[in-house]
């Protein structure tokens, strides 16, 4: 496949960025999207140019490090996958592909396509944990947990913190991420105890960092690589409002 790439280049957080156009040739449809960018960078290095900076780590859909807004979609045109799981067979020979960084006030660009998602870490540090040591692994059935609760918790725990929800939301809201973290802990007995405090402190941090207000468009759910449901946002609203009303 021969492709034209329009890629956002930006020297650093302060510089004014812009699009650069590149051509890549003889790309196999079985190449992954990030491998395709590796090939581009290889060419750029050989030409003595600055390679394109983009985030990645595990390249198997686990870590949430890869990002990229591809042709108007966070993590590209395919559904329920991260960018590293996207393959070139999803595109056609001769296509022009526009690649942009996540765009949100709370995620400033570091360089080119890499953004600083440290704001998510700060939200987690504000309450996305269980604050006592729960000890070693328990006997599996020592604390019975209904299957439905365990399933909901596990579904929410699939969130890898990639930030596609924020990148897609027209309000730059981090509600899906926060809701996933609150839900995954609130549905289990160990996490339930601190549920109210967790919801309050994570939402307070999220607001402080300048994320927007959710208007329930559902765009986050559609673009989330883990298919996290906005039903978790309803649970977060419930947890937060009942905690506040009890204060």
């Amino acid at each position: 496949m021969n492709l034209t790439l329009k890629i956002w280049r930006q020297k650093d957080a302060k510089a004014k960025g812009g699009f650069e156009t590149y051509k890549v040739e003889n790309i196999s449809p079985d190449t992954s999207f990030l491998e395709m960018l590796d090939i581009l960078n290889n060419n750029l290095i050989h030409e003595g140019k600055d390679p394109v900076v983009f985030d990645h780590d595990c390249r198997e859909g686990i870590c949430g490090m890869c990002s990229l807004h591809i042709n108007g979609h966070a993590h590209g045109p395919d559904e329920d996958i991260t960018t590293c799981q996207l393959h070139m067979r999803k595109f056609k020979d001769g296509d022009t592909i526009t690649i942009e960084p996540w765009r949100s006030n709370a995620f400033p660009v570091i360089k080119d396509l890499a953004v600083d998602r440290g704001a998510f870490d700060k939200i987690l540090q504000a309450g996305g944990f269980i604050s006592i040591n729960t000890g070693g692994v328990q006997d599996a059935n020592a604390i019975p947990i209904p299957k439905k609760d365990a399933d909901e918790s596990m579904d929410a725990a699939a969130c890898n913190g990639c930030g596609a929800c924020v990148a897609t939301c027209k309000n730059g809201s981090a509600m899906l991420f926060v809701a996933a973290r609150v839900s995954s802990l609130a549905k289990l007995p160990q996490g339930r105890v601190e549920g109210a405090r967790r919801a309050k402190s994570m939402v307070a941090k999220m607001d402080e960092l300048g994320f927007g207000n959710c208007t329930n468009t559902g765009a986050c759910e559609a673009e989330c690589p883990k298919g996290i449901s906005i039903a978790h946002i309803a649970r977060l609203n419930r947890e937060f409002l009942s905690a506040k009303l009890k204060d």
Partner: protein
Amino acid sequence: MSNLFTSSIGKKLIMSITGLFLVLFLLFHMCMNLVAIFSQEAYNMICAFLGANWYALAATVVLAAGAVIHIIYAFILTILNRRARGKQRYAVEATPKGVEWASQNMFVLGLIIVVGLVLHLWNFWYNMQFVELAYSHAEIEALGLEPTNGAALIAGLFSNPVYCIVYLVWLAALWFHLTHGFWSAFQTIGWDNQIWRPRVMCISNIVATIIFLGFAAVVVYFYAISLCPGGVCY
């Protein structure tokens, strides 16, 4: 309750409660209007009952407060949300699958509703409750106004096809606003989950459609009878 209403979810709660309150008002208003189709006399009796009396005025003040709060928070939230999104926009943006158009255009739809509302208050409220407040009965008679003859006002206005179209466009904007707004309010309050979401969304479409049809029926009915000379269709 400490600083609930300064939090993002608290501000949304205000939006949803005022929004649902406005929906209740619309349902009440719609039922009242429908009376005009069946009996103009009965409709005028309601108008007389809801003139410039203390209870009608108190209800008007509460209603106006609800509407004003909803509008103010719409501005606050929209400004905050645009700021959160940042100055740098995507060059290419595609709407993700399954996202309702209305949900991404609530503010614009709201603005259309405000413009229609101002026109509507000028057409009706000004000629009905306001004149009763501002003028004495002798003055009203001298001006040739009939503040309790709402049916005549409706019939007069909707004999004009331009007004009919303007009102129908206004109602269409309201329909879009409510198809998203109604279920969204439940989601905001937290009364939603995986199983109930499709149901609440369906109820939302039904409520929006009932409201649209209920109000539009009055517009269409009065336009239709205006086409019959001599009132033979009554």
